[in-house]
């Protein structure tokens, strides 16, 4: 049976109807049309569906939408501010950390969660922090370099 829920996404409140079996990923993409969050494996392995949940990176494919009520959710659509891209987004572009782009939204949000915790993250921290995000294109090198550039303060 559908239930009306209220979700706090990117600072806005959305009222929407969800079934108990709908995942947060289903509702973000299907109901709210926030399709920047990608659907990959749906079993917690690839990280394409990563969103921030009270500031922490989580796989939205493994959270029921009804469980997300009362939590602050940030999706890729909420990363940039109105006038400019987030430093991580600028760095990903500049360092060629995006090829097909499918992993990019999740990769960026995991990187943000990591740097919010560890602003001075080194290469090892970055690799560990991005371990839950698979990329079949880049080989990860450019992604790590982009995050390192943000740590160095190259992008504002």
């Amino acid at each position: 049976m559908k239930k009306t829920i209220s979700l706090d996404v990117n600072g806005a409140t959305y009222e929407t109807a969800a079934e108990p079996q709908d995942t947060l990923l289903d509702v973000l993409r299907g109901n709210l049309r926030l399709t920047g969050t990608k659907k990959g494996c749906e079993t917690g392995n690839c990280g394409a569906c990563t969103v921030l949940f009270d500031g922490n990176a989580v796989d939205s494919c493994l959270i029921l939408a009804l469980e997300a009520e009362g939590h602050k959710i940030i999706t890729i659509e909420g990363l940039a501010d109105a006038s400019k891209l987030h430093p991580l987004q600028q760095a990903f572009i500049k360092y060629g950390a995006i090829q097909c782009g499918y992993c990019t939204p999740g990769m960026l949000l995991s990187a943000k969660a990591l740097l919010d915790r560890l602003p001075r993250a080194n290469e090892e921290d970055i690799r560990k922090g991005l371990e839950g995000n698979l990329c079949r294109c880049t080989g990860y090198k450019q992604i790590v370099e982009a995050v390192e550039a943000v740590v160095r303060g190259e992008f504002k």
Partner: protein, 291 residues
């Protein structure tokens, strides 16, 4: 990937949660983080609960604290919190390290310590170290509360010894006595953070002369449940630990495990690895005490 329909229940107290669980018996499942439960519910080969009892509205199940000579961890404490807790790092850095090397950051931010045990996978990474530490589980039900050792909680692959209406509320770990150390070592052929092909926990206490006074060794992923290795423990106990003795204990552990073939490793390979990892874990635990 669709999840079969179910009824979602959000009791606001433990009493209420236990009652609905008991009422629906085997048709109900507790939802903690859901990182095991939802993966199963997406798999058509698994049987699916008709009632999912979410613990999200139950307050006070997420904490880590020292209480006299015990460490108390609430059932809903996230793996990430276990990994980063100063209290846990101080008492048992190897337990924090085990949590930090499970799964992925995203899963550690959702998955809980009790969920890992209740799911009862043979490879559950929290199980061997908690068993070696003689940790206990506090359990509530409509009939009251009971306490059982983690090492008698597993009943088979994917099966625990909870009865209908029971919920795990707390993991309790004794604080380390003098000259004591824990080491957990996980081996996976893909990467350190993958599901364990073999996991070995060793808890050692030395006497004032430097000999092993007591030792508990538990093997993960190499039998239906995590298992104790008493013959291997006997090799060590009462003796001065060195490479040769640790290798002999490793050899004993090989004889005690009952591994299976799966897509991560063959049974033969697992047996070989049990010997190597047990030896290493004993030496690391020993260094942990003498260092």
């Amino acid at each position: 990937m669709r999840i079969t329909k179910f009824e979602y229940l959000t009791p606001s107290s433990l009493e209420e949660a236990c009652l609905v669980l008991q009422q629906h018996g085997s048709q109900a499942a507790v939802l903690a983080g859901g990182t095991d439960l939802l993966v199963k519910m997406k798999n058509p080969r698994h049987s699916h609960p008709q009632y999912v009892v979410s613990l999200k509205n139950i307050q006070g199940l997420e904490y880590i604290r020292r209480d006299k000579d015990m460490l108390r961890i609430g059932a809903l404490t996230k793996l990430d919190a276990v990994a980063n807790s100063e209290v846990i790092k101080t008492a048992y850095s190897s337990l924090a390290f085990a949590a930090d090397n499970m799964a992925t950051p995203q899963i550690r931010n959702i998955g809980t310590i009790a969920g890992n045990l209740c799911n009862a996978a043979r490879s559950a990474d929290m199980a061997p170290p908690l068993m070696a530490l003689e940790a206990l589980l506090n359990i509530v039900s409509p009939q009251g509360t009971r306490t059982i050792p983690v090492d008698s909680f597993f009943a088979g692959q994917g099966k625990n010894t909870l009865r209908s209406g029971e919920i795990v509320t707390e993991v309790v770990i004794p604080l380390p006595p003098a000259r004591f150390a824990l080491w957990y070592q996980k081996f996976s052929p893909r990467s350190a953070r993958d599901i364990a092909a073999v996991g070995v926990a060793v808890a050692l206490r030395l006497d004032s002369g430097g000999k092993c006074e007591k030792c508990r060794i538990f093997l993960g992923a190499v039998a239906d449940t995590p298992i104790r290795a008493p013959l291997s423990e006997a090799v060590i106990t009462g003796n001065k630990i060195d490479e040769v003795l640790a290798a002999a204990a490793g050899k004993q552990a090989v004889s005690e495990c009952r591994p299976i073939d799966d897509n991560r490793a063959t049974a033969d390979y697992r047996r070989h690895i049990v010997g190597v990892v047990t030896k290493d874990a004993i030496l690391e635990a020993y260094r942990g005490v003498v260092a």
